[in-house]
């Protein structure tokens, strides 16, 4: 499969520019992330809240300007541009919000919101817009009369379907799904995941799937990257990564996940991830890691191959296995 999106040593700073009597505040939310997503694949990004998943997504979209690094979309360099220009060139990437209900204007009927997206993207013919909207509503499994409703009149699952329809109407190649199943009960979750798989096959989509829910990522994704404090600590094919996690952080995440078959969940990670303002020296995970040694506190671990297309950044990954 040809490569659709590539990010090379991508770095994003969040914060405010210096102003009058105000020093610049800056947080490095994404620090040297390298990703490669092939066409048609579902690529998962997992990690705890605040690890930079969403910032990574916004940087790839062009809503947040990268501080360093390079982004290539379908072989074309699209980084290093002013935000408006970057967003225009990356129209093939679209983003589905974490809370699709809040992503809809409460004053607009859903149909008008769908119509607006097409208008912005220059579909001038009203009849064509209406036809495409009707077709898309059917594709996401909603009746055509849902267009007449207001966002608050929809259930969580329906809101998610509308959020998807809105984005898919723009005919993107890569869809970034930010926690697409958060806050849904299990049966709705299953139907949303089924729908996502259907749409992917039907429209030939590539997914960048952001989630902290490992069971969901395992079901949907072909490849997975694990992020910790703005860096990718492990990346590999989903099967291999879940079967033989190499990084202690991945292992801890997997152990802490609840099991459906009634086994007790393993011990959860001690403490909260440290603040981005005080990033630990050496390996960023070492203060919470059970295998940390003096080396971990002193030296940033290099990224090593732990299997075919499986990479890990840990000094001790071999011992852990």
């Amino acid at each position: 499969m040809p490569e659709l999106l590539r990010a090379e040593a991508l770095t994003t700073d969040l914060g405010r520019r210096a102003g009058f009597l105000r020093p610049a505040v800056s947080l490095r939310a994404v620090d040297g992330v390298t990703l490669s997503i092939a066409e048609g694949e579902a690529f998962g990004v997992v990690g705890e809240s605040g690890c930079g998943k969403t910032t990574l997504a916004r940087t790839l979209l062009g809503l947040q300007r990268e501080a360093a690094g390079e982004i290539t979309l379908a072989g074309r360099r699209v980084s290093g541009l002013a935000p408006a220009e970057a967003r225009r060139l990356r129209a093939d990437i679209q983003y589905v919000h974490q809370d699709p209900g809040a992503a809809l204007d409460p004053w607009w009927r859903v149909g008008a919101t769908l119509d607006e997206g097409l208008r912005i993207h220059g579909v001038g013919d009203a009849a064509e817009r209406a036809a495409r909207i009707a077709e898309m509503l059917a594709a996401v499994g909603l009746d055509a009369d849902f267009g007449q409703r207001y966002p608050h009149e929809l259930s969580g699952g329906q809101q998610r379907r509308i959020g998807l329809a809105r984005i898919l109407l723009l005919r993107p190649k890569l869809v970034i799904l930010d926690e697409p199943t958060a806050g849904l009960d299990l049966s709705v979750q299953a139907s949303v995941l089924r729908l996502l798989a259907e749409l992917r096959a039907r429209f030939g989509l590539t997914y960048l799937f952001i989630s902290h829910d490992l069971t969901v990522v395992r079901r949907v994704c072909d490849r997975v990257a694990v992020m910790y404090l703005g860096q990718v600590v492990e990346e590999g094919p989903a099967e291999a990564l879940f079967a033989r996690p190499a990084h202690p952080y991945t292992r801890a995440l997997l152990a802490a996940a609840p099991h459906l078959d009634g086994r007790a969940a393993g011990p959860s990670l001690p403490g909260e991830p440290p603040s981005l303002r005080r990033i630990p020296a050496g390996c960023r995970f070492h203060p919470r890691c059970t295998r940390a040694s003096a080396l971990c506190a002193a030296q940033t671990p290099p990224t090593e191959a732990a299997g075919p297309a499986h990479h890990v950044a840990c000094h001790h990954w071999r011992e852990a296995a």
Partner: protein
């Protein structure tokens, strides 16, 4: 819009406010035909001066023998015209300033909001009195002064709403699909700020009527012999407490209309919000 109206009517207090305002509008439009003695607006009849309320003169007569009932009816129109034009002018100045200042941080926003603060600091009555001295005292001057001192309330309201809305997820989503900032501002932020503006405007109507009456009372508003409620209360002052009806009825008219606008304003705030709509079903 119709749903909003239906919900408004379900709230008895708001419905009462709406009733008062609609009644006042009706009276204002048809005043010359409703008033039993429309000619009394300008003609005096000194033989009938200061008669107490009776079947012939329901609200009594004033010191020039004019029918107070007719004059209260005829005064409705000017009260409403003043209120509507002042509030409209204030909206036209305040809303664009609030939108522009709220959308982006920066020097423009700072300048606009500091200018707003300066205008907010000017006492309404003092500016009106000063303008009245500077220009010719009269209704137009009073209206200019009121509009000049009322727009900052709209600017601040819209500023706060824009600040709140620009961080909303749906604005972010719109930026994400490539919407132009102007589109977001005018088609999404403005309608979402509309309930707050509407509430402000409705309460502002009541407030303006009250202040206009006060200016009339102080002699920088409407000039005699115009049938103006505030002016009538001022003129009645010398005849208190004997001719109690002279001040009472124009005063009651002011109170009723102000109350109507305030009740309606509160009701509108609840009814116009689509999120509250569901919870009230």
């Amino acid at each position: 819009m119709l749903t909003a109206l239906r919900h408004l009517l379900r709230d008895p207090v708001a419905a009462l406010g709406l009733l008062i305002v609609v009644f006042a509008l009706f009276v204002a439009i048809f005043a010359p035909w409703i008033a039993p003695r429309p000619e009394d607006a300008f003609e005096s009849n000194i033989m009938l001066r200061l008669r107490p309320p009776s079947a012939e003169f329901p609200f009594g007569t004033d010191d020039l023998g004019r029918d107070i009932f007719s004059r209260v009816i005829l005064g409705t129109r000017s009260a409403l015209i003043v209120a509507v034009s002042v509030v409209l002018a204030a909206i036209l100045i305040g809303v664009p300033i609030g939108l522009a200042a709220g959308w982006r941080d920066g020097w423009l926003s700072e300048v606009l909001m500091r200018v707003t603060d300066v205008f907010l600091a000017v006492p309404q009555l003092i500016l009106a009195l000063a303008l009245g001295q500077l220009l010719a005292p009269g209704l137009t001057t009073a209206m200019v002064a009121l509009a000049l001192t009322y727009w900052p309330f709209f600017a601040r309201t819209v500023f706060a709403e824009t600040r709140r809305l620009r961080g909303a997820l749906f604005v972010d989503a719109l930026a994400g699909i490539g919407a132009h900032p102007m589109r977001i501002l005018l088609l999404h932020v403005l309608p979402n700020a509309a309930p707050a503006v509407l509430v402000r405007a409705t309460i502002g109507m009541g407030f303006t009527i009250l202040t206009a009456a006060l200016l009339g009372f102080l002699g920088v508003g409407a000039a005699p012999p115009t049938p103006d409620w505030g002016l009538a209360v001022a003129e009645a002052r010398q005849h208190l407490p004997d001719a109690w009806w002279y001040a009472t009825f124009p005063g009651l008219a002011i109170m009723l209309l102000v109350l109507g606008f305030n009740l309606l304003g509160d009701g509108l705030r609840d009814a116009a919000d689509p999120r509250l709509r569901r919870s009230r079903k």
